[in-house]
């Protein structure tokens, strides 16, 4: 099964990022393809590399970066939502990108499922 994920909240403030990550991890472990994680609304703040959480806490940005590197998951932030919130190319984590809502439409069309996480 091919899965797209839509993530609508930023890291730490809401559990959405954590649940989306755990869901993606489980899907991959079961042999499914997680095609892309699309970030919308405050969700775009998942991909700032300036995030520096306490050492005993999870690093949510680094986790997305690793998911992208190891499993080819595209991690994409909506450009209009990113501009509003100060997410720009120079602060993106490795493996992420900024793109338009047309890409989300493609993701919704080409996958068997689109699963949304948010507030």
């Amino acid at each position: 099964m091919n899965i797209g994920i839509l993530l609508k909240e930023g890291p730490y403030n809401h559990q959405a990022s954590d649940t989306a990550y755990k869901f993606a991890e489980a899907a991959i472990a079961m042999g499914h393809k997680v095609d892309a994680v699309f970030l919308y609304n405050d969700g775009v703040t998942n991909v700032t590399k300036l995030s520096d959480p306490p050492q005993d806490d999870r690093n949510i940005g680094a986790r997305w970066s690793e998911l992208s590197r190891k499993h080819g998951v595209e991690v994409l932030a909506c450009i209009a939502a990113s501009k509003r919130r100060g997410i720009a190319d120079e602060i993106l984590i490795e493996g992420s990108g900024i793109t338009g809502l047309g890409t989300l439409t493609d993701i919704a069309i080409r996958n068997d499922r689109l699963v949304t996480f948010g507030d």
């Binding site: 099964m1 899965i3 609508k8 559990q15 959405a16 649940t19 755990k22 869901f23 991890e25 489980a26 899907a27 472990a29 079961m30 499914h32 499922r113 689109l114 699963v115 949304t116 996480f117 948010g118 507030d119």
Partner: protein, 97 residues
């Protein structure tokens, strides 16, 4: 269609709104703060029981454990993240945010 609910019904109307749109047989999965809905003995026990007459009800076990919820309404099934994925294999998803 799988319906997920991630909000506590005590503070937010999401669960009650979702229940109005459910079709018979559609599974409901409580996640995140939504899992408080199915703690045994709370104010929503009757509503959960009514929904279970026509719909299977699940709760995400890691979210239950994180919140210290050990007693569930009778008839509620628990799933882990892989069980969540299995439900998504069988159904399109409707995430009530």
């Amino acid at each position: 269609m799988l319906h997920t609910i991630n909000k506590s019904p005590f503070e937010n109307g999401t669960m009650e709104t979702c229940f109005r749109f459910l079709q018979p047989g559609d599974p409901v999965l409580f996640i995140e703060d939504g899992v408080y809905a199915v703690q045994a003995g709370n104010r929503f026990a009757e509503k959960i029981r009514a929904v279970m007459e026509s719909n299977p009800v699940y709760a995400l076990s890691p979210d239950l454990e994180a919140r210290g919820i050990d007693r569930l309404d009778e008839g509620v099934s628990t799933v882990d993240y892989q069980g969540f994925v299995s439900l998504v294999e069988k159904h399109q998803v409707n995430s009530w945010l």
